[in-house]
Each structure stands twice: as structure tokens, then as C-alpha cells.
Subunit: 227 residues, 6 copies
């Protein structure tokens, strides 16, 4: 069996005795994903920190929102691309591939969303996310206006901002700790989607086969951890 | 009476009915600070988001750590300076002035920590925080090594990274929402500290009068909200 | 009494014997401000340099211009914010607070003028100043046109450019020499302006209470040194 | 069958009648790779341009050199990561995965080579390549010296520079034309390498199982087009 | 006689025995220019590399194109200015001076093309070239559209991109190798153009005396090597 | 006769009636240089501004200093290169060519001083000047220390900083006003220096023929205006 590489470059001590809640959460990860995401193991030296991180991540990525879950993953990946974050590109790259049911889509956002020929709504969303990542001090009303023109409500703009902000946090923690993603992510949803079985039946490349929110129809079927 | 200016540029709807816990938290803020920090009011449209934010912020800024509370505020301010964040410079600038019992110290970190003639420990800490803010993708082992040489344990490095990362998140949410700080922050701890009453009795400028961790002796006396 | 910290990191020798003119100038500073601005003391090792600096600074900041004195201080502070200049943020931050009779205004410009909800004239002015600071090689006719559209004459544009340019000089000299501002600046004009006594009597926040040029009515009463 | 998406955003006219040499080259691509790399089809409107491009690319990537073919692909990918080039990350990402016989290695270099725990030789090589990419005007003798200390001869440094320079060219042409990579690249060498069959038999993760030049033993077996 | 300074900082070994073709090419350079461009001597350690470089450079700079030869040299110089490349600014600065028959024009583009008051076609061309140089990942359809609006066909856009890309390659190779230009370039076409003999007979400064493509009438008379 | 192009893009009104002092200064310029530098004509709408500018420029560039006049011009040109300032590169490029009695030297500093193989003293000086230009907020004691190790006294460091700062001012004023240099500068000191008549008699290229301060022996002979 392949030995797990070290989790990160910081030795922060042993795993804490997990709360029952958290233990159950870890068990569910193991059951659904087949592994515990390494970011959770990295946080597991301290129950309070771990729970705060899970609470925030799960609300942002899986809670109620005007953004689809795929859109939130797209933001995660576009931000992580701007910040060149190995951990998050790997973990959330897999999530975009899965939620879009489109392996090429994930790669595209991870490499440069500007090459992805996105619909205007998602282009505006990622333009804002990357600008907020690169030059937060230069955001002005006209940036918010561009989102409103693209159809977002103020409540959605909060969510775009909150997800962008969250991955600017996570990217930096992962970089500072040199956190390593679970190897499984690399191999998830890599097979080419054939049209008869894929999201598209129209002869167009699969990446165009998402619904209005850019989410593949079946993506919502499986519940999935946010991290 | 001066009317409160609008809280932020996003209209995310009315305040949610707060949980009893959160209501109690708000009451304590009002009692101790004399006001509810605007970031909490901005988050108050949604109990889940508000609680996750409070849980993370309070743990990071007030929880157990090898970093003093002042040091954590110094990171908050140095990061917010790099990101030119009006909200966080105002709120955490006040916190540094208060925790250091030194109004000039807060200004210095908010303007440019490199001019502050900090002891090597804190200089290394802020060098790392700002580098992680500006170029997270370029952090390498030698950056972590510089912190270890300055006396930090790996557990402390996690905390430096986590606080830096958190304010990279908060700065971006505040910028995206154009969040306005409570006006009271501007006016807190502005009076010059005289030596006989200040932290220093040694004829040196007050800003040198902090203990090994750069925290003024009396700073720990009053419990204070993190946000 | 608090001992004055060292003036700067460079030992350029003793103060020159001042010219009578300059001696009179220093005396007037002492009388009006209560101190000699440290930048003047830093220059005082050489009469020629000191006089050239004073001549240029006083003409730019106090001479005849289509820009109000407050506006010129706003440029000084916005430029110094972009350059993170401790000396100039401290000295000219105080000047903006004083000229606007608004302590929060000074903070706002020193932190990020984009959060200050400025009238279009001043927004355009500071946009130009910061762009000229950050990317002088990219200024083009359309940047000058934006100022003309905001109501500035070409002669005003010269002044905006000249003040911006001057603080790009001063910021760099202060940074290279690690110049320390007089401590008094930190404490000037920090008290909250109450409406009945402040510039505003209209219930709006004080920062909106400036005249067409964004200058508080009483600001012109006291003559003040430019540096 | 999935219809091929458009090749690029520029309509430069129909494919030229290819030279016999080039026709043979295309046939060999089809036979060995199963497709003609899109960059060649993009250039195929003009025989002279196409041939010059092939001549330079093949010499650089497949010709005699002190750098292994894998190392040259690593440079291609690290440069393309700095430039966020969708085309080259896709095509050369596949090449690194293949030459290293390690799917995770390709991802790592494409995301951030600093997270790849490379041996010092390759770390120095990519540090130089990325610095030359980001700030060519700041390269100095000490940068060349760092490569010499890492064991490179001057002739090798030429090759590092030439490959870095070439992908700074290709990245820009691909970006300007919005060139689309062949979809097949996405799906090449994605399966996890098991240890018994992989490059490593030592229990260490596969990515450590390369020879002195960081090239998997079997990688040289198949001749492969450079582009 | 002045001894030739060393060619570059890398010792890549002796000149290869040149192919007859290349020997003839070198002889023609010597005859027409009076010297062999140093970049060719730098490449001359390897016939294959040398020939690939010449083939690409000559096609791009002298081949059929919707861009005039002067325009292509202007791109070379504007890119080299952005990259601060001593070799290319010297060699191609001379070429612009010569092709425009205007010594000031070459200087202008080498210093900052934005100060050159170029006609809209060439302004748009250099705006694109410099943007593609500085931020290739941010090129989008609207950048191509700006070129089309300025009158360029897609085939011309390919050429603008290809020349820009090529000098981003050459600049980096020259920087990495610290390549020295032939001293003769410094002194070519430096004399002021008088109106009676110059390109202009209209009393306007010479730099306005170019034809629709910005090329001086006589510039095409002398055939010239591209490098 | 060639008509003078417009001086700058701003119409700031007619030339003021010059002071007798200034009139004499202009007359001397005309006599020695054969023209009035355009920056002076640009400032001539206002006697006070003009005199302050001349006083500062002449003191910095021609006054007593531990830096040679050539060294001060080198700083002017290296700073103007970083800022891509057409006016200052033209005017001070000519000055470096003249003071070094070496036309290639001027070009080299104007293009990229790192390619100039400068002696360590001048390399350190320009490294500091460019760093202070590009990132004034990051100057620290170790930057000053590097200058001291290169042999500079603190008084010299002041001068390096002051000249650097001054051209950061001038560059920005010239850029904002789109100031045009006198055409004569382009053509000054362009002829190749032959060794028998040049500064060097040792067979080395002329650019190595400067004295300890990097100033050609005869450079001091002619008095010259600073601007």
C-alpha cells in the first residue's frame, strides 16, 4: 500500500480527541468520499478550530444561496488559480469536475477561467472574484454594479464575496502550512464524458451542457462535503 | 443625534431573529464596547453565517495561543494595511492602540510596520504575514524557517498563518460590501500616553514599553470582543 | 518629559547655522504648531536644500491654486497611502483632519480614499493622483480628459500633478532616511466633531459637511505651514 | 461523435497545402498521438511559419541537451503556470504526466512547482525559469551562478533559458489567439500509478521515483512529438 | 582598434562549422550591415538552433504581412521596452530609426510608445502588444475586438501576436545570457533628419512624415536582415 | 526651419514675465546649451514654481556632494527608465552620455543598468535607487547597510535618496503633462568615441574608462545646467 505522505510542513501536535459531532462528520466523509479531506486532518489538532472551519465552509459551499453549488466551486477554483494554491486547486478542481460532470471544465477554471467561454453571468462572477482576490482595495461601486447587471441580487453578491474571501483565507493557510491534498482528488472524474451518457445530448461539447446556473442536472444528486 | 450612516453597500435584507446565544453576545458587546461592531450587524441577516464568523474570530483572536492578543491584532492590522482595508484598519487599529496602551503603535502598524522598529520576533512575524498576504504562492520552507529562527514554534506558525489568512478573508468581504466601521473606533485610545501613567517608566518612548511579547502589562485586564 | 526619538536613520551631521529667513520660519512654526516639523530638522544640515524644499512645499500647498488647501492635503495623503509612507501619513493625515475639521475624513483618506464616498470632483482628482503614483508611464490623454470632465482646468491639472509628484518625492526621501514624524501629529484633531459645533448642522455625518471644494468653512482661518 | 470545437478565436484563412515533409510529420503525429496537435493546425495556414515553429520546438524539446526531456517539459509547464496558459498547461501538463509516468507530478507543476518538493537541481531550474518569466529585466549574474551551483553547465543554462523563452512566446501566441488544446490531452495519463507497476518499488510515493534527472526510466522509450 | 567585448555571460563552446547556407547568410550580413549581429554569433554554437532562429525571425520580420516592416520593428521595440531588454532595444531601436528614417521615433518607442502620439492604428497595435507582454493571461475577446476596430484583419492580429510573442522569447534569452549587442547599432541613424532631405516636406516634424502604415517612403529600398 | 512641437499637453497659460535672475539663467542656458530646456519653459508660467524647481534641481545635480555629477545623472536615468519617462530619459540620457564622454553608457543606463557591468559602488547605488523607486515602502535598514558596505557615507545616502526622489517627482510631472523634451537632446554625444581621443587609452572599451567615481576625466570641464 502507498504510504500517506506527510500532511503538512508544520508539526502542530497530535490529533485532538474529536467531539462526537465531529467524529460523526469524519465518519460520513469516509463513507461518502472514501477518505477524510486532509484540511480537516490538518485542523484536527484542535476541536474548536476544526468546528469553526467546518461550520463556515459547509454553510458557504452547501447552504442556501442564489449561487449554485457548482458556481461556488468555480469561485473556489478561480481564486485558487490566481493564488496558485496546490491544495485547493486539487480538492476543488475535483469538485468542479464532479459538480459539472465535466472533467474539462474543472481543468479550464483551474488553468484560466477566461479561456472557458463562460456564460455572461458566470464570467461576471469570476471577474469579480479574481479582481477581489488580486486588488481588494480597488473594488468600487461599479464592480458591484457589473454583478447586478449580470443578474445577481445583493444577497448573491454577498455570497460571491464571501466564497471568494473564504478561499483567499484557505489558500493562505494551505500555502503557509504547505498542506498536501489527498491523492484521491487527482484521480476523480477524469474520464471523458461521452455524449450519450453525459450531460449533453446535443452534439455540442459537454462543457456547454450545463443548465442556467451552469450546473449539470445530476450534480445535485449526491450530497457531498464542502471541504 | 448623529444618524448612523448606512452599514454597507449591499442590501442583504433585514436582520434575522437572533439566537439567544447571539443575542447575549450582542448584549455583552453593547455593555463592554458601547456598541455592536458593524461587521456583526452586517452578518446578522443570517444566524448561521454570523455564528460561524464569531466562532472563528473569537477563537483566533482571543483563544489560547503562543501569540499574545496584541500580536494577533498587529497581524490583523499589518494585513489590512497591505490590503488597504478601511473597515479593519479602523476597528483593529483601535484594538492595537488599546492592547498596546499606545496610540502611536497602532498608527505605525496601520501605516507601515517596517517603520515601527519592532523587536526581531514581531518583525519576523509581520514579514511573514505580509509576504503571505501579497504572494501566498511564493511561501517556501525558508519562510517558515525564518519564523522558527525568530523563536516561534510550529503551533505558533499555524496561528500566525491562520490570523493572516482570516484577515485576508475579512478584508475582502469588507471591501466587496464596502462595510463601514463604527465611528467610535476612530476616537478610541487617541490621547498621548504620559510616561508616569503609561506603560513605560524608563524615559524611553512609550512604544518600547511592552513586555517580551510586545503587550502592555495592563492590556489583559479587560476582556474584549475579537471583532 | 518624553525624550525625542532619533530623527532619522541617517547621520548627516549637525544642523547648519540657519539663515535669518529660515530661523524666522522655524520660529513661526514653533509659535503656530508648537514644534518644528521633523522633515525641516532633517533637512537643516544644509541651508540650500532646506530652503529649496520649503520654497517648493509652501508654494505647492499654500500658494494660489484652483485646488483648495484641503484638496492638496488629500492628494498628499492619498499618495502617501499608496506608498505606505509613515512620515507623510502622520503629518499630512493630521493636516487633512484639521483642514476638513473632520478627524474621520483624514483617517479615511489615509486608509483608502475609495471608501470615502467623495464627490465626483475629488474622486477623479484622487483617482488621477494614485494612478500617476502607481503607473506614471501609463498616463494618457484620456486620464487628463477625465479630470477636465470632472471640472478641472489645465492649470488645476498641473497642480494635481505637481502635488502628486511632490509627495512621490517626499515619500521616498522619508522612506530612504526612515524619517520619524513629530509625535504631536498623532494627537491632533482626534476628538469627534459634534454637529452643533462642527461643520455640519444638517444631521448628515460631518464628513459630508464640506463646501464645494470639500473644505470646512473655518479651515482657512488659521494659517499653517505646509510641511 | 463529438464535434471538434473551433481551433482559435482568429480566422486566419484555410489550411495551406502542406509540404510533403510537413504532411509526413502530421501523419506521424496522427499515428503516434492519435491526433494532430491543435497548435500545428493553427499554424497550418502558412507553411513557412509552421515549419519554423516545428523546427524550433522539436530541437528545443527533443534535441540533444544536458536537460532531460522531462525537465524541459517541467519548464514548459512551470512557465505556462506563471502565465496561466490554458493551451500549454493542457498539452504540456499531459507531457509531464507521461514523461514522469506520474499523473500527480504533472498536476503539481501545473499548479505550483514550489509545492512539489523537487530535488535541488530541478528546484533551481524552475526558480530560474519562473524568475526569467516574471522579471526578465532583473536577471543578473547571481541568478546564473545559482544554476551553476546546482550543477548546471553554461550550455545547460542556455537550454533552460531557451525553453523558458520559447514558452513565453507560445503562451502569448496561444493567449492572443485563444487557442484550444486537443481534448485528448485532458484524459492522458490520469490513472493512479500503482507501485508494483509504477516507476517506484520502494514504498515512497511515485513522484519520488524518478532517476537523477527526474525522469522515469521508461519515459525515453517512446519517441514523441514536442508539441 | 577597439577589442570586441565578450558576446554574452554564458560559455556555450566554440562556433559550430556553419552550413553553407548559413555561411552565405553571415556573409550577406557582413556585406550589408558591416557586421554579423551578435545574436547570430551567440546561436552559432549549434547549426540547428541557429537556422531555426533565423527562419522564424526572417519570416516574422521580413515575410509577407499586413503589417509594414516598420510596424513589426515598432512592436519589437515596444515589447523590449516593457521587458527592459538591452540587446533588443539597441538592435531593434536602430531598426526603427532606420525604417522610419527618423532617429527620434526609435527613441520614442524605446522609451515609452505612449508619448509618441501615434496614429490610432499603431497605438492600438502597441497597446495590444504591451498588454500581451505584461498580462498574457488577461487577453480577452475585447482586446482582439479593439484591434479589429482599428482596422486589423484577423491575419494581421496573428502577426501582431506572433511578433510580440517572438520578442518576449528573444528578450528573455538575451537577458538570461546577458547578450551584448554589436556596438555599431548605437551609432546608426542618429543624425537629425532635415526637412528638405527627410521624409517630410511639409514643415511638420519628421516623425509625422510616414505613410499610412507609418513607414517612411524610402525605407523599403534597402533590404535588411531581420536580426 | 523645423517648427517646435507643442511643449506639453496642458495649456497652463502664457509665460510669466521672468525675474531678472531667471532671465539671466535662461540666457546662460541658451548660450551654453543652445536652447532652453523645455521643462523650464513648461514651468515658466509661474516664477515662484520655476525658481523653486531650478533651486532644487541645481543643488541636487550640481551642488557639493560625495556623488560625482555623472553618478547623479546615472541615478536620474535609472529612475526614469524604471518609470519609462520619455522626457527625462531624453534629457538626462544626453547628460550621462556627455558626462561619461561615452554614448553607449547613456544608452545602457537608459535601457537597463543591470546590463552595464558597473563597478560595485555604482551597482549598489542604482540597485538602491530603483528599489526606492519601485517599492519605497519596503526600504529597510539592510538597504542602507548595503550602501554603507559599498563605501557610501550617510551623507551620500541622503544624496542618492534625494536625487532618486527628485526624479520620481519629475518623471510624474512630465508624464502627467506629457512634456516633450527639446529635440536637440536626441542628437547630443552620439558619435562613437575612438580610443585615441576618448577617455580610455588602454585598449578596453571606453565604458570602462571612467575614474573611481565613474566620471570621465574631462567631464568636469564644461559647466552645465542641471535640467
Amino acid at each position: 500500500m502507498v504510504k500517506e505522505a506527510r500532511l503538512m510542513a508544520l508539526d502542530v501536535g497530535p490529533e485532538a480527541r474529536l467531539d462526537p459531532d465531529t467524529e460523526a462528520y469524519f465518519a460520513k466523509c469516509q463513507e461518502k468520499l472514501g477518505f477524510i479531506p486532509n484540511v480537516l486532518k490538518a485542523y484536527a489538532f484542535d476541536n474548536t478550530k476544526l468546528k469553526a472551519f467546518i461550520a463556515m465552509a459547509d454553510d458557504l459551499m452547501l447552504g442556501d444561496s442564489g449561487l449554485s453549488k457548482l458556481e461556488r466551486e468555480m469561485i473556489a477554483v478561480a481564486v485558487s488559480c490566481a493564488n496558485h494554491c496546490h491544495y485547493c486547486l486539487t480538492a476543488h478542481g475535483a469538485a468542479v469536475r464532479q459538480r459539472a460532470a465535466d472533467p474539462e471544465m474543472g481543468e479550464l477554471i483551474a488553468q484560466n477561467y477566461r479561456a472557458a467561454a463562460l456564460p455572461p453571468r458566470q464570467k461576471a462572477m469570476l471577474d469579480f472574484a479574481v479582481r477581489l482576490t488580486e486588488a481588494p482595495d480597488k473594488i468600487e461601486e461599479m464592480d458591484r454594479e457589473a454583478l447586478r447587471r449580470a443578474g445577481f441580487k445583493d444577497r448573491d453578491i454577498w455570497d460571491i464575496a464571501a466564497v471568494t474571501a473564504f478561499y483567499n483565507m484557505s489558500n493562505r493557510l494551505a500555502a503557509a502550512a504547505d498542506m498536501k491534498p489527498n491523492r484521491e482528488y487527482h484521480f476523480m472524474v477524469r474520464e471523458m464524458v461521452r455524449e450519450e451518457e453525459g450531460a449533453s445530448a446535443a452534439g455540442a461539447p459537454v462543457r456547454a451542457s450545463t443548465n442556467r446556473r451552469g450546473e449539470a442536472p445530476q450534480a445535485g444528486r449526491r450530497r457531498r462535503r464542502a471541504v
